[in-house]
């Protein structure tokens, strides 16, 4: 019985440490453009820089825009898909990808839209009232 128990515990410990090790490697932290330059896959958080042009180019089939990260660095972001829904409304953007030569190539993008709770935009009411009444 004893050796079996030890074997069992060793298996559990081995499995758990491998799992946690792998888990630790597969998550990363939200970061900024500066630190992203030496990362394979970075999650950069920021906001859209509306002072610069953004749009989808039919020629290159890419959507490009400028994003300001949380430290204030502004970089061009290239995203190989169409402009996502709610892009302009997003309070916060998370781009997932790789920094290369000062340009961030995003493979994925998440948008955090304004919270509905407690700070509903009053214009929502006026809009609805104007259009429906």
């Amino acid at each position: 019985m004893k050796p079996k128990l030890i074997l069992g515990i060793a298996a559990i410990v081995g499995f758990t440490s491998l799992l946690m090790y792998n888990f630790g490697n597969s998550i990363s932290t939200y970061t900024n453009f500066k630190q992203a330059s030496n990362m394979e896959s970075a999650h950069v958080v920021g906001t859209l820089d509306k002072s610069k042009d953004f749009g989808f180019s039919m020629k290159t089939k890419q959507f490009s825009f400028y994003m300001k990260d949380q430290n204030g660095n502004v970089r061009r972001v290239i995203y190989p898909k169409q402009k996502p829904n709610n892009f302009e409304q997003a309070k916060r953007l998370v781009v997932i990808g790789k920094m290369k030569n000062g340009v961030f190539y995003a493979n994925d993008m998440l948008m955090k839209c304004p919270s509905k709770y407690n700070n509903t935009d009053p214009s929502q009411f006026s809009k609805n009232n104007a259009s429906k009444s």
Partner: protein, 831 residues
């Protein structure tokens, strides 16, 4: 007033549930029948109060009382009846109400069918869980301390800081925010009730396990608990299937599964529940108690509460596509989870030594060991997925601000475990039905193994599979399918009632095959030029204008109107235009994409992806476009496509930008007609001409009754023209006038320009007519001379064998259903 009554009803329900729980507790301890009767009445009363409160909430929704936060937040006047009804469970508060109603129905079943000595404790724990759910909608406030968020709170109560409400607390909006367009799907109407029915039923095995520990009767509980657990399993599986199918046909990520926390939230309890079912089945067969089945029964419900916590506390807000509104329930959910877990595991540990010892000989060839191994694999799968979902919490051990794990984490861990599970199912089934020693098992498995090898080899060769890992995976999946298939056929001939297990395992094998085929061999439909470009990108040959290597491939299919492209040497694909007529959503365009076989013969078909303005998110300055993909399902492969952009959408956006600029820059002043944009066109009757992005068709003309014109009019004609935006199948008739009248002895012409619909500042003037041949001349102003291309930009994918995923899932459901009937039948005969 109604809100006040509603809140009162929730409080009444809460009170009844507490009293019922106390009653059940006393009954469990003292075993006096009257406690049970009174508690049942109290619990029934609780259900009645919840029902009444729900009816009230539904009434508020139906009568559009937008001064209530819930009604304002989730509904609007234009919603169809079915979406108004489903809005009742569209928000967090309402979905708790639904959950409680379904849990009450389950409790009625428990009152009727649960036997002594379990029924007291079972209903006590049912009531306990109900009390926790009720606190979530209580809406109790005392200073800064609050419990729950009431569905009956008013706007002013929900948003105390909103300035427009501070100015006018009695403000009632005219209309609500409405339902997200993506959720307007019949699948999403039935998905939540099924899911919560599953949640409610999954409470039952927990209650039974706790009752077993309480009453120290560790064996008999599995018989009545098994059908409930199976029922919970089917409900969860159905809900997962509906969610996946909805995501596939509605969303544009192009699949049915994305390891999103909300999906995992239903999958983890399902896996744990399935692990529990395995242990219960083997315990019943052996009729010897097992600690593992009690443990799994507890952990399955803990899984539900934990995942409820994850998805509803706002903790996953950054990592899920589901934007659950954070209602500030965090603390309550933690307490709920802690109590359920601590009582459950606490009791388990407390009684651990009291539970009968199992004979611990590790016999590899016993069905107990095989089933236990299977259950352990399911348990590990559940744990790993729960770990991944918990990244925002557990990830803090490694980094600050953790991101969700990469998808590869889930795939890398679940794939090998699924392969082990596949092999175990076969050994398990062979040993389950007949005592086997290694030799007899080897003998019996010879043919299934041989068949598996041949079929796997054929699959690998036909499918062109090069990855060794995938080859192994295919081998195990076919093994599960064939091995269990053989067992199933044998059982079918002897006693069809018991095929449930074998059938689910066949479904599992199929599911594995379908998952691999549809996800790993999913390909984009692209034309040759794009394919060559992507290949060049792969080889690092493409550079951008700054000389840097490009790494991102292009996965779009661009089609010009009526200019076919050859795709994959298989299809000739043509964009045939769009239609704006008779659409369910205002402003929706339905595109027509025709597929013909590239070599000419064979079936042709048309796909109709759609684009529509999202009403809830659009304003008069900015349209938010949303897409509705089209899926053509086939037995061997699906074609999935959505419109990523089109000339119509671009033109609409340009128009809006132009309008916005105009209102900003120069209000009121009319723009000067741009002379560079003036062109004259001559047309014969029946002829058409192409201008910018529309066609003008000259149908005929008719003389005008001159009484409506000036007295001196000599001749007046109207031209009947059809303006047809190119690509659209609808046209707009316009009838410009040309007239000649006499003034001061001279002939003057009067021909007012008619504006062109959809072209701001554009106009058509019927400027002259040639009486000799009937040719008319039109002067078009404010429209580009250049003929504009009409195009559509598609994302199209071919997904092989997605049908197998669905069939596998249906077989799983069917297998579980067969098992329910079997166990339920037996239970009924007992009582």
């Amino acid at each position: 007033m109604i809100g006040f009554i509603g809140k009162g009803l929730v409080y009444a329900a809460f009170l009844s549930a507490i009293l019922a729980a106390i009653g059940y507790f006393l009954y469990s301890q003292k075993d006096e029948e009257r406690y049970f009767k009174i508690s049942n009445w109290l619990f029934g009363l609780q259900g009645l109060f919840i029902l009444a409160a729900s009816v009230l909430l539904l009434y508020l929704v139906m009568t559009h009382q937008f001064n209530y936060y819930y009604v304002f937040e989730y509904t609007s006047r234009d919603l169809q009846l079915k979406y108004l009804i489903s809005a009742f469970w569209g928000g967090q508060e309402g979905s708790f109400m639904l959950w409680m109603m379904l849990a009450t129905i389950v409790s009625f079943g428990l009152m009727k069918w649960t036997r002594k000595p379990y029924r007291g404790p079972v209903l006590f724990f049912m009531a306990l869980s109900q009390i926790f759910l009720l606190t979530m909608v209580l809406g109790f406030h005392l200073g800064d301390f609050s419990i729950g968020a009431s569905p009956f709170r008013s706007l002013a109560q929900a948003m105390p800081n909103a300035p427009f409400l501070q100015a006018n607390p009695n403000f009632v909006p005219q209309d609500g925010k409405g339902l997200n367009d993506l959720l307007k799907s019949p699948w999403m109407v039935i998905h939540p009730p099924i899911l919560f029915f599953g949640f409610s039923m999954m409470t039952v095995p927990y209650c039974y396990a706790m009752a077993a520990l309480w009453k120290r009767k560790y064996n008999e509980w599995v018989d009545p608990a098994l059908p409930w657990t199976l029922g919970a399993n089917i409900a969860l599986l159905t809900a997962i299937f509906l969610g996946g199918y909805w995501a596939y046909v509605t969303l544009s990520f192009g699949g049915y599964w994305a390891w999103d926390p909300v999906e995992n939230a239903a999958l983890v309890p399902w896996l744990l529940g399935t692990a529990g079912i395995h242990m219960m089945v083997v315990q019943r067969k052996k009729s010897a108690p097992s600690k593992a089945s009690i443990f799994f029964a507890i952990i399955a419900y803990v899984g539900i509460v934990y995942e409820t916590f994850l998805t509803r506390s706002g903790i996953l807000a950054d990592s899920s596509v589901h934007s659950f509104v954070d209602l500030g329930l965090y603390g309550q959910l933690v307490v709920f989870m802690a109590v359920i877990t601590l009582i459950g595991l606490g009791m388990f540990i407390y009684r651990y030594n009291d539970m009968p010892k199992q004979n611990n000989e590790l016999n590899l060839m016993s069905r107990e060991f095989m089933t236990f191994s299977g259950a352990m694999v399911l348990f590990l799968l559940g744990l790993i997925i729960a770990l991944g979902t918990s990244a925002p919490i557990i990830g803090r051990l490694f980094v600050d601000n953790p991101t969700p794990p990469e998808v590869s984490f889930y795939n890398n861990w679940t794939m090998p475990l699924a392969m082990i599970a596949a092999i175990l199912t076969v050994f398990g089934q062979y040993i389950f039905w007949k005592r086997q020693d290694p030799e007899s098992l080897a003998r019996e498995l010879t043919w299934p193994v041989a068949a598996t090898c041949v079929i796997s080899l054929a699959t690998i060769m036909i499918g062109g599979i090069h990855d060794i890992y995938y080859m192994l995976y295919i081998l195990t999946a076919w093994f599960a399918l064939i091995g269990n298939g053989v067992i199933m056929v044998r059982l079918l001939m002897k006693n069809p009632k018991v095929i449930g297990g074998a059938l689910t395992h066949v479904g599992f094998g199929l599911l594995l095959l379908g998952i691999l085929a549809s996800s790993a061999y999913n390909s984009n439909l692209l034309d040759l030029a794009t394919k060559n470009y992507n290949q060049a990108v792969e080889q690092g040959k493409v550079t951008d204008d700054q000389g840097f290597k490009k790494t991102q491939k292009v996965n779009f299919l661009e089609l010009k109107l009526n200019q076919p492209k050859i795709i994959n040497n298989k299809y000739k694909v043509t964009y045939e235009g769009y239609t704006l007529k008779n659409q369910a959503r205002p402003g929706q365009q339905q595109y027509r994409i025709k597929f013909e076989p590239a070599d000419g013969d064979g079936e042709q078909f048309t796909m109709n992806p759609q684009v529509y303005p999202m009403l809830s998110a659009s304003t008069s300055q900015n349209i938010q476009w949303s897409v509705d993909p089209d899926v053509r399902s086939g037995l061997f492969s699906d074609i999935y496509m959505y419109v990523s952009g089109s000339s119509y959408v671009e033109q609409k956006n340009d128009e809006l930008t132009k309008q916005n600029k105009k209102t900003e820059a120069q209000p009121a002043s009319a723009t000067e007609p741009d002379t560079s944009k003036t062109q004259k066109i001559k047309l014969q009757k029946g002829e058409s001409v192409t201008v910018a992005d529309f066609d003008i068709h000259f149908k005929n003309y008719s003389p005008v009754d001159s009484t409506s014109l000036q007295d001196s009019t000599i001749v007046a004609v109207r031209a009947h023209l059809d303006i047809n935006p190119r690509g659209s199948d609808s046209s707009i008739p316009i009838n410009p006038l040309f007239s000649v009248y006499k003034k001061n002895g001279e002939n003057w012409s009067y021909a007012p320009p008619v504006s062109i619909p959809g072209h701001d500042g554009g106009s058509i003037q019927f400027s002259s007519v040639d009486p000799s041949n009937g040719q008319i001349e039109l002067t078009i102003r404010g429209v580009d001379k250049k003929v504009k291309d009409q195009w559509v930009l598609l994302v199209a994918q071919e997904k092989p064998f997605i049908s197998i995923v669905w069939i596998g899932t249906f077989l799983l459901m069917a297998g579980f259903t067969v098992s329910i009937f079997r166990h339920w039948d037996r239970e009924r005969k007992k009582s």
